[in-house]
Amino acid sequence: MDEFGIKVSQQGDVSVLRVKGYLDAHTAPELEKRMQELISQDRVRLVMELAELEYISSAGLGVFMAYVDEVRGRGGDIKFSSLTPRVYTVFDLLGFPILYEFFPETGEAVKRFPHADSADRGRA
């Protein structure tokens, strides 16, 4: 069983959260904390890269639900990328693909944020 971990990196103004291991009731608060931190810094363009996520429980799914309204309200979004088929099934059964965008590659997910690049250049 791999250790749970989150790595946050910036791709332009999009924050990519690489989540690995087991996301359950015990580890969900850690993800929640990281998301709160990002949102408080006004980083609301979030991509969840879940290639190394082995398991997600309902508590883990709840974290995404809890922040999506706020993130979207501030002009951002939560997108998912690189899910293994098994983990995707869990999202799929629950109907997440109706509410969220899923991508096979992180880069694709990052690109799909409107005007991400131009906004970044403008600021620089």
Binding site: A59, G62, M65, A66, D69, L94, G95, I98, L99
Partner: protein, 710 residues
């Protein structure tokens, strides 16, 4: 003496008496002939030493009994020395020294009276000398260090060798001081007299008493030394009685006098420090007492009060404050801490430099501040000089630390002019350490009690929750139904139910609330309420689930959702309709083929009614005899064994395909058995629910449902 059988005592006393009588008989016999007649001088010396040797254990006992109490031993010594002194003094006045005459170095008694008296005086003085000897030895050995023991033992050897060397010799009373041994013995005694291990532990009052005893001992032993050292009747008596014992007696009297003279001076010297010593002893015993008491105090405030009182007493301070984690009070201590004073009330201690002291103390182990004089104080404090100049008190601040983690602060204050010395700091720091430990213990204990309380409540909640599920499912012709739910170790959120609705249909639900614990259990109760209210009137699973989504969206928090499968068996057209709201697939077993039915549908509470409704798909199937539908929750497929392997949907499929089961119960049992084999250790982390519905004969479905309605 109590533990020594009385007959051994009797034998010792009798033996000694017998030997003394022998000595007397020999002395009488040789009175009129030479003292060396038939080597009787040797015989008499050996016999008298032997007699003393027999008395040795008895005297040893007297000393041993009193060794723990030096004052009592001193008193016994004073009494013994006093008695002997009086006896010797009386004899000096009553009898002239001419009762013995010196004939070529040997003493010759003038009368039988003198022979008899010499025996009595000799016996009494040598027994007393032996007692002084044992007492001194006892005092020195009692609590002495290794060096003291070695010196004391050297002294013993010297005295014994000196005495033995005189066996059979002429009683040369005037030659004692010429003995090199004796000079060495006196030197050793002087050395030993600097060491008063028994004195240090005495309290001030006891030391005053000891001074009195020592003074009397010096007087009695000094007097005896004077009387026995001169040409007096008793001096000659003991010399005549036994040359070695006479020497031994005289030497002991002199050495005792030297020792107690030095002891008197030593006691005087120790008298001023005894207050400090007593305070240290009191501090140490307070600290030990606190160690004992603290484990029995659970209440934080009570513990804090005990610490404050002890700290103030131990540090000799006027005021004491304690900062502990607690309710945040503006202006009272560090953020998140509250400051308590000894009266128990929150105390701002206004104007006192708590913040500066804390900052400095947290950087090191403790900090002191001498009122009025800031020169030489830590730099950090000097920075605050303008503020501190107004503060005239002396302060001591010590952090309360457990495992290098600061759990509070202890402050002590003394009036200006008094300061905290090294020992104050050491003892208060020690108190702070054990106080921190005690506070930590009481916190852990309270946590444990709270945890046990929660566990009891959780158990209660678990049993309450079990009652929310139907006790028994109806056994009906046409429909074979079986359902079971295995609760996880925690309370969970699985729910299943079957009701007969208002339209004459059978309404079946299997649901799973997200998350675990009390929240999930509450939501499960809410789901039951929704099902019983909405499920009664819903004409289709779609209608029910859309209504349920609306109802639950209002009551679920943003993290939570509910997945559900709802089915309605319609007896009039012999069909079953069902819809899936984000739930696990439904397994249909037909002729040993397993099909996973996954109609589209989102979890309840995830999306608005429109989105939810648009995504929801309803499936209607005919009631085919022999068809088995298995509804379950994800606790089943996500069951894990220690290695991390999941039970999984494939295993479930194979299990259902493998055998043709005779009944719904047999199917459910096979599933449960397989789950138990998969993870035999129990302690499931999620609820597992399995509901099996088997159509037996479609013609009977209608009547069956009417029966439920009855």
């Amino acid at each position: 003496m109590q533990d020594r059988p009385s007959w051994t005592r009797a034998i010792a006393l009798g033996g000694a008496g017998f030997l003394f009588v022998l000595v007397l008989l020999i002395d009488v016999a040789r009175k009129n002939v030479a003292p060396t007649f038939l080597q009787s001088n040797f015989v008499v010396d050996v016999l008298s030493i032997g007699a003393l040797f027999l008395l040795f254990p008895l005297l040893q006992n007297v000393v041993t009994e009193r060794r723990e109490d030096p004052l009592r031993l001193l008193l016994t010594l004073v009494i013994a020395a006093g008695i002997v002194f009086v006896i010797v003094l009386v004899c000096v006045f009553l009898f002239p020294s001419e009762q013995f005459q010196t004939v070529s170095g040997w003493l010759v008694p003038h009368s039988y009276n003198a022979v008899f008296l010499s025996l009595i005086i000799g016996t009494v003085t040598s027994v007393a000398a032996l007692f002084v000897f044992l007492s001194l030895y006892g005092l020195l050995i009692g609590t002495g260090k290794r060096g003291t023991r070695i010196l004391a033992n050297v002294l013993v050897v010297l005295l014994i060798v000196d005495a033995l060397s005189r066996v059979g010799g002429a009683p040369a009373t005037g030659s004692f001081f010429q003995s090199a041994f004796f000079i060495v013995a006196i030197v050793i005694t002087v050395l030993l007299s600097f060491r008063l291990p028994w004195l240090i532990e005495l309290r001030r009052k006891e030391k005053l008493v000891a001074l009195g005893y020592e003074l009397m001992l010096v007087a009695f032993l000094g007097g005896l030394a004077g009387l026995l050292g001169g040409e007096t009747f008793p001096a000659r008596s003991i010399a005549y009685f036994s040359a070695p014992l006479g020497t031994f007696t005289y030497q002991l009297v002199v050495l005792g006098c030297v020792y107690f003279t030095a002891a008197f001076a030593g006691t005087l010297f120790h008298l001023p420090t005894s207050d400090i010593y007593e305070r240290r002893v009191a501090q140490i015993s307070s600290l030990r007492d606190f160690g004992n008491i603290s484990t029995q105090i659970l209440d934080k405030d009570q513990l804090a009060q005990t610490v404050l009182k002890l700290a103030r007493e131990m540090g000799g301070a006027r005021g004491a404050w304690l900062e502990l984690p607690g309710a945040v009070v503006e202006g009272h201590g560090q953020a998140g801490w509250e400051r308590l004073s000894e009266n128990g009330a929150l105390d701002a201690g206004s104007g006192l430099p708590f913040d500066e002291l804390r900052a400095e103390a947290l950087a090191s182990s403790s900090v002191t501040l001498r009122g009025g004089n800031l020169r030489g104080e830590p730099k950090g404090l000097r920075r605050f000089m303008p503020k501190l100049a107004a503060v005239q008190n002396s302060f001591l601040a010590v952090p309360l630390r457990v495992h290098n983690e600061t759990r509070g602060m202890l402050y002590l204050a003394k009036p200006a002019g008094e300061s905290f010395d090294r020992h104050d700091i050491a003892t208060v720091t020690a108190l702070a350490d054990s106080a921190a430990m005690a506070l930590e213990n009481s916190r852990l204990l309270r946590e444990m009690i709270e945890k046990e309380r929660l566990e009891r409540e959780l158990l209660l909640a678990q049993s309450m929750q079990t009652r929310l599920l139907p006790r028994e499912l109806p056994r009906l012709p046409g429909i074979d139904l079986f359902a079971t739910s295995i609760p996880a170790t925690e309370v969970g959120g699985d729910y299943y139910d079957i009701v007969h609705n208002a339209h004459g249909n059978l309404s079946i639900v299997v649901g799973d609330v997200s998350g675990k614990g009390i929240t999930a259990a509450f939501y499960m109760a809410v789901v039951k309420g929704v099902f019983q209210a909405v499920g009664q009137n819903a004409r289709s699973p779609r209608e029910f689930l859309v209504n349920a989504n609306e109802a639950l969206r209002g009551s679920l928090d943003s993290h939570s959702f509910v997945t559900m499968v709802h089915a309605i068996i319609n007896p009039s057209d012999r069909t079953m309709s069902f819809a899936r709201a984000g739930h696990c697939p439904i397994a249909r077993v037909r002729d040993s083929r397993v099909e996973l039915l996954v109609p589209r549908g989102m979890g309840l509470g995830l999306a608005s009614d429109d989105v939810f409704s648009d995504s929801l798909e309803e499936v209607t199937v005919p009631c085919v005899p022999g068809d088995t539908y298995v509804f379950f929750t994800d606790g089943v497929t996500e069951l894990r064994r220690p290695g991390g392997e999941e039970f999984g949907i494939r295993r479930m499929e194979e299990l259902l395909r493998g055998t043709s089961y005779s009944s719904a119960e047999a199917t459910a049992s096979a599933v449960l058995q397989s789950l138990r084999q998969f993870a035999p250790e129990g302690g499931y982390i999620d609820d597992m629910t399995v509901l099996v519905l088997r159509f037996v004969g479609c013609g009977e479905v209608s009547t069956a449902i009417e029966k439920i309605g009855d």
